[in-house]
């Protein structure tokens, strides 16, 4: 357990400076008031019923002192908060631009080279990034605690934020603005790659995603994809209805479609539902799923099918 998330962007240490100064000032006032309060409450505790107390109604010098000193300190805090905020709101000219869409309940990222990812944002170590963001349905908020950045995504307008990653690794993305049933499942990762690894990723070669992914059995790989690509935000494993049909026991059974016809859930239906989700929508559900074409490879889809088969 640490007090503060790791520092992984150029902005993080600046924000921490503001947090630290306010913490120190708050502690001084908090300790001052608490000590005086407890001291008075003990020292002046009533010892007999007929104790005499002095008639003191106030003190103008004291009122002036405890108005002016906090006012000056508050202005200092305001200015410091503003100065860092200005940095946070001013992206450098050479920042790499990535567009971000938030929708219930996943993140999609579109890169300058035509690449597209879901729930995983790939950025290069030490290279400034500017995110141009838009929500497709309701409000969302892009929040990376390790970078100390947060910005709401609003339908019908663009918002932006920027950062320079200063640490190689994987960091949490949270949706911070309440967006409905799947809000707490609208999670993603920022993956900060070294320049060499980023170059490989840019060219489209699959980056090693961790230990032994390639050697995982298909159903286990499918389980991993189910979580990492955000399937879990809409499709439950326990039969409950979130946004899409639950995966529990769905394989091998017929489902009713919007037009009243039925279709058997087999390998091809699942594959089609992933790549062209709007083609055959199950009755009672809205046609809101995005296509994963170009995002999931053939192996990924096969792995997901294998995983869904195991969910009896």
């Amino acid at each position: 357990m640490t007090w503060i998330p790791e520092v992984a962007s150029n902005l993080a240490s600046k924000v921490d400076g503001v947090l630290l100064l306010i913490t120190l000032m708050s502690l001084v006032f908090f300790i001052l008031i608490t000590v005086v309060l407890v001291y008075f409450a003990i020292k002046y505790r009533r010892k007999s019923e007929d104790e005499e107390t002095p008639y003191i109604t106030g003190s103008e010098p004291l009122e002036i002192i405890w108005t002016v000193i906090p006012s000056i300190l508050l202005i200092v805090l305001f200015v410091y908060g503003y100065v860092v905020f200005k940095d946070m709101r001013t992206p450098p000219k050479d920042a790499v631009e990535i567009s971000v869409q938030g929708k219930q309940w996943l993140w999609t990222f579109d890169y300058y080279n035509g690449k597209k990812t879901i729930n995983e944002l790939y950025v290069q170590y030490n290279r400034p990034v500017r995110l141009v963001m838009e929500a497709q349905d309701v409000l969302h908020s892009f929040f990376v605690p390790a970078f100390r950045v947060k910005q709401d995504l609003v339908p019908g307008r663009y918002t932006q934020l920027w950062f320079t990653p200063t640490k190689i690794g994987t960091f949490d993305i949270f949706c911070a603005e309440y967006c409905g049933t799947g809000h707490s499942a609208m999670l993603g990762k920022v993956i900060v790659l070294s320049p060499e690894a980023y170059e490989i990723w840019e060219k489209g070669v699959k980056v090693d995603e961790g230990v032994g992914v390639a050697s995982l059995p298909p159903a286990e790989l499918g389980a991993k994809i189910y979580k990492e690509k955000g399937c879990n935000a809409c499709h439950s494993l326990d039969g409950s209805k979130i946004v899409g049909p639950s995966f529990k026991g769905i394989f091998g059974h017929p489902v009713e479609l919007q037009d009243g016809s039925t279709v058997d859930v087999d390998e091809n239906y699942i594959r089609q539902s992933i790549l062209e989700p709007q083609a055959q929508v199950v009755k009672g559900f809205a046609p809101v799923m995005p296509s994963f074409k170009g995002i999931l490879s053939d192996e990924d889809v096969t792995a997901l099918v294998a995983y869904i088969k195991t969910l009896k």
Partner: protein, 533 residues
């Protein structure tokens, strides 16, 4: 109350009359105050149970007790019932009603029938919200668009209930303003008014001026949902951020509607139990008005990450720091009042001291959220949840509990068990801190609010917070039982058990129907404790 023994020919306690009609048709401010007190306490307990259910779900990261949708409904109901049905009417409607005429030496409020009407409007609003529970909303108490315009839960009824409730608030505010202006006893000049009256006056101004805005906003939302007019939905040409501006234009002043009456309560309790004049009377009185005024100009500090312009964010950050100053002044003055006092740690005084301690934490953590760069990181995390509960429970609810224990003998003519009250206080104080203090750290570490499930790195602090909620719940349970037991078999209360100089303590307990046998002539302020040199 039938066989009271106080020897006075014309003394008829206001509680004397029995029967349901003597309540629902009463225009007596003291009875209307009781009806509000029962209603808001009921909603406080109900919304508290929702909170306990939420915390129980959050004991572990997975969603294993209720489904995410149910969790979202729970926090929506917890927030909207606590805010609109407990804490906004809260102290102002219950203790404000009971105390304002008694403290200023008046037989009743200026418009007694309107006062009863306000209560009935409150009940109507509550009834509408209860109907809305059939398909409860899952929007959060803030009803942010476009989600609130598109979710298929019942947003219309609950917002309609809140809309109706707003009229109760507006009319009560109007009533109190006129009462304080026109009904003061001879000699009760503005600078002799008890500080609870100043606080009620500042609150009433906010109720009168701010509440219509939320009413209109919710009406626009209802229009959007039912008639499809696009005020806020960008798909129809509206602006979702506009809703936030409208909503917080009310809801930030509303924060002060909630807290200023509690500040008034503290200003009454401390001098009595310290036997000292209140320190800096004018500073406390005018800082209430100062807070009320500035509170209209800080609403967008809820929106620093919403996409508003950087210039707007900067101006609102500055104004937010300004509002901290009158608040700090109050805390310093209350603390200074204790100096060289003769302090009796009665349960009401313990709540008042807890208020100063907890509200100081609530206020100081507000500085983090007012500073632009820090707010960007902390906004919409558990830090905000913790801050807001330190102000609302640590502040308003401590003030409410303090008021309950302080004026209980006067209002009901009986005493509660003081030892049990102190034990309950201890549980509440510890439970509250165990519940909410860890949430500051959760927020700094990035745990977002309104999450039905959460990443495993937050589990230890989240479950600690849940354990705290059980201690807090237990404390409130004991306190409630103790206060109810006092009504049934408590000792008869004397007229003035604490030796207060305020007018309400100069009439029998419970007060007579007409308050004062004859309207008093006031010759001094109510804080003249101690020996004048």
């Amino acid at each position: 109350m039938a066989n009271h023994t106080i020897a006075h020919n014309v003394y008829v306690p206001f509680l004397e009359k029995k029967g349901i009609l003597s309540w629902i048709l009463t225009t007596d401010h003291k009875r209307i105050g009781i009806m509000y007190l029962i209603s808001i306490s009921f909603f406080f307990l109900v919304a508290g149970v929702f909170a306990l259910l939420m915390r129980y779900e959050l004991l572990t990261p997975a969603s294993d007790f209720v489904q995410p949708h149910t969790y979202n409904v729970l926090f929506t109901l917890h927030g909207s019932i606590m805010v609109f049905f407990f804490i906004v009417p809260g102290l102002a409607a219950s203790f404000g009603n009971f105390l304002i005429p008694l403290m200023i030496g008046a037989p009743d409020v200026a418009f007694p029938k309107l006062n009863l009407g306000s209560y009935w409007i409150y009940l109507l609003g509550a009834a509408i919200v209860l109907i809305a529970l059939a398909k409860p909303a899952d929007t959060g108490w803030t009803f942010y668009t476009p989600y609130s315009a598109t979710t298929d839960t019942d947003v219309v009824l609950i917002t309609l209930g809140v809309f109706v409730l707003g009229f109760s608030s507006i009319l009560t505010g109007l009533n109190f303003i006129v009462t304080i202006h026109k009904m003061r006893a001879p000699g009760m000049t503005w600078h002799r008014l008890p500080l609870f009256i100043w606080a009620s006056y500042a609150t009433a101004i906010l109720q009168l001026l701010a509440t219509p805005v939320v009413g209109i906003t919710l009406l626009l939302l209802i229009t959007e949902r039912t008639l499809g007019v696009g005020f806020f939905d960008p798909a129809k040409g509206g602006d979702p951020v506009l809703f936030q501006n409208f909503f917080w234009f009310y809801s930030h002043p509303a924060v002060y509607i909630m807290i200023i009456p509690a500040m008034g309560v503290i200003s009454e309790i401390i001098p009595v139990f310290a036997r000292k004049p209140i320190f800096g009377y004018k500073a406390i009185a005018y800082s209430s008005l100062g807070i009320a005024f500035i509170s209209f100009l800080v609403w967008a500090h809820h929106m620093f990450t919403s996409g508003i312009s950087d210039i707007a964010a900067t101006i609102f950050s500055f104004l937010t720091f300004l509002v901290a100053i009158p608040t700090a002044i109050k805390v310093f003055n209350w603390t200074a009042t204790l100096y060289k006092g003769s302090i009796h740690l009665h349960s009401a005084m313990l709540y008042a001291l807890a208020f100063i301690f907890l509200f100081t934490i609530g206020g100081l953590t507000g500085l983090f959220l007012g500073a632009l760069a820090a707010d960007i990181h902390l906004h919409d995390t558990y830090f905000v949840v913790a801050h807001m509960h330190y102000v609302m429970i640590g502040g308003t609810v401590m003030g409410f509990f303090g008021a309950l224990h302080f004026w209980y003998p006067k209002w009901f003519g009986r005493m509660f068990n003081e030892t049990v009250a102190k034990i309950a206080w201890l549980f509440i104080f510890i439970g509250f801190n165990v519940t909410f203090f860890p949430q500051f750290f959760l927020g700094v570490q990035g745990m977002p609010r309104r999450y039905a499930t959460y990443p495993p790195q937050f589990e230890s602090l989240m479950s600690l917070s849940t354990y705290g909620s059980w201690i807090l719940g237990f404390g409130i349970f004991i306190m409630t039982l103790n206060l109810i037991a006092g009504l049934i078999n408590g000792e008869k209360a004397p007229q003035n058990p604490y030796g207060s100089l305020s007018l309400e303590w100069q009439v029998p307990s419970p007060p007579p129907l007409e308050n004062f046998e004859e309207i008093p002539h006031v010759t001094d302020w109510s804080y003249g404790y101690g020996k004048k040199k």
